[in-house]
């Protein structure tokens, strides 16, 4: 092979790669009778694996209700939080139902349905903590734990600029570390924190208060992530969300987990 041939080949491959990237993908002709749903499985009570390894949680039950409403067969796969968006883009699954906030940065990469719930972030501290209120001054010099690559981590960094914010791989690890006293406070969704504080594992700590949900960070609530161009599927999900909101199915699922309205206003 000559150098020229190699270069021509390289050029062709590049052109091909560029073409594939910019092609307007559309799912108009696609038959969505089966949908693969990706979730994290480590974010109770929204999505988690129970003792027998089955996926449970609000996200999972909402997903099942939506699938039933759309009359499609759904299968579930779990995926680490960090790799969620690339996995969706690579086609490992078709819909991402994992309590993901609809943010401008994420919207550049993937499409979102309308929100299916919206709850504020909150901060929890050990019961004997000297932190009296969730303000920047009270958290000055303290160590805050949050899950890596989440909106809550960004919120913690922006609300408490003088604190040290440590990024944990999942919620499980920051819970271990507030228990052992390595972090002074943790920031996460109010529901996630409340559920944990109610359990034996959360006996160490108390809720200090909810935090303002800055829309620049939190966007428009929690939505279902889809590949850009899958407009037909997006319409199907949006209609199904409205339908289960209207027919009481959503409330049924919500009441199984929470005693308040998680949909938000």
């Amino acid at each position: 092979m000559t150098l020229l041939k190699t270069l021509v080949l390289a050029g062709t491959a590049l052109a091909f790669a560029a073409g594939a990237a910019s092609a307007q993908d559309t799912d108009a002709g696609k038959d969505w009778s089966t949908v693969v749903i990706g979730t994290e499985g480590a974010y109770p009570p929204f999505n988690f694996l129970d003792a027998s390894g089955q996926l449970q949680g609000f996200d999972v039950d909402v997903a099942k209700a939506l699938c039933e409403q759309m009359k499609v067969t759904c299968t579930f796969v779990t995926q680490d939080w960090d790799g969620m968006i690339p996995a969706l883009q690579n086609g490992n699954f078709d819909a991402l139902i994992a309590s993901m906030s609809i943010t401008p940065e994420r919207e550049e990469q993937i499409a979102f349905t309308d929100k299916y719930y919206q709850t504020p972030p909150a901060i929890a501290v050990p019961k004997d903590s000297d932190i009296a209120e969730p303000t920047a001054a009270a958290l000055d010099g303290k160590v805050i734990g949050a899950q890596t690559a989440t909106t809550h981590l960004q919120a913690a960094e922006s609300l408490f600029p003088d604190a040290e914010v440590r990024p944990y791989p999942t919620a499980e690890e920051y819970k271990l570390d507030i228990d052992s006293g390595r972090v002074d406070a943790v920031v996460d969704d109010v529901v996630v924190l409340s559920e944990w504080l109610k359990s034996d594992a959360g006996a160490c700590c108390k809720l200090l208060g909810t935090l303002p949900a800055d829309s620049a960070i939190y966007g428009k609530g929690i939505g279902i992530g889809l590949r850009k161009g899958d407009e037909k599927l997006r319409t199907m999900f949006n209609e199904a969300i409205q339908a289960i909101r209207a027919n009481g199915k959503y409330k049924e699922v919500q009441d199984k987990y929470f005693d308040f309205d998680v949909y938000g206003s």
Binding site: I85, R166, L176, D177
Partner: protein, 274 residues
């Protein structure tokens, strides 16, 4: 048995080998690499984003610095721990031998991620105990736990490198030195270690290279090194070039190490050149 005084293979200048035209498979392989390299450069040129660079370059550099510190400190600490372990492995006393063998088997036989998790989160469950013995101040900090775990891990590998290298020096060298009236320590320092160093150099470089990459695991205990910062940058931008920049920085580190090793080898083997 191969005599350690024979010049090692790498000391042979490559240009004495007869030059051959590359075969078809070689050209194909080379073409594929060339293609990959060109695509990468083209991709980076197309995705060139000064804002991204201005925003994340300092973060990358601080991550790089964290990686370098972590590897350098743990490697040296591991080297210190590896000396008694290597001595124990070669010892005739079976308490020393069994203890150091158990240490090596344990740390080489289990994944580093498990060791790190147990040392950090596991020890965290026994806070009262560590407070009583006054070590909580050490184990409470993720940074110290990361160094502690990485040093213990690399010590097991380094002990094996050290033991193998010392054992590769023929017994006659010890006997010859003894007949000249040299003390054991002088023999070790002036006769055995310089020869063992030639054998150990490449495995040590391998170990550092593996550590540079294994150190990325410390992100699970919230220490953000080069890869940790990359993941953070990616989670903000969802731009794949964040990973490409990290790959380039890792490649630079490894290339520097490779050249430093070649230089060190030339120095260590200068008496073997004719």
């Amino acid at each position: 048995m191969k005599n350690a005084l024979d010049p090692p293979l790498a000391a042979t200048p490559p240009d004495v080998l007869p030059r051959r035209r590359p075969g078809f498979a070689g050209v194909l392989a080379l073409g594929a690499w060339l293609l990959a390299g060109l695509s990468l450069v083209a991709y980076l040129a197309a995705a060139w984003n000064p804002d991204l660079l201005a925003r994340y370059a300092p973060i990358y550099l601080s991550g790089l610095w964290t990686t370098i510190q972590l590897v350098a400190i743990s490697f040296v600490a591991g080297a210190l721990i590896s000396v008694p372990v290597a001595l124990g492995r070669g010892s005739k006393g079976f308490v020393q031998r069994d203890l150091s063998t158990a240490y090596v088997v344990l740390f080489r036989g289990t994944p580093f991620i498990a060791q790190l998790f147990l040392i950090y989160y596991g020890f965290g469950q026994f806070r009262d105990f560590f407070e009583t013995i006054g070590l909580w101040g050490f184990f409470r900090e993720p940074w110290y736990c990361a160094i502690f775990a990485l040093a213990l891990n690399t010590a097991a590998y380094q002990a094996e490198i050290l033991r193998g290298a010392v054992a590769s020096v023929p017994k006659g060298q010890w006997e010859g030195a003894k007949s000249l009236g040299l003390s054991r320590l002088t023999t070790l320092r002036k006769v055995i270690l310089p020869q063992a160093a030639i054998v150990a150099l490449r495995p040590y470089t391998n170990e550092v290279i593996l550590m540079v990459k294994a150190s990325a695991i410390v992100a699970i205990i919230t220490v953000y090194d080069l890869l940790g910062e990359t993941r953070r940058a990616y989670s903000r931008t969802f731009d794949f070039q964040t990973y490409i920049w990290a790959a380039i920085l890792y490649l630079l580190i490894v290339e520097l190490l490779r050249h430093a090793t070649n230089f060190a080898e030339r120095r260590l083997t200068r008496h073997l050149r004719r």
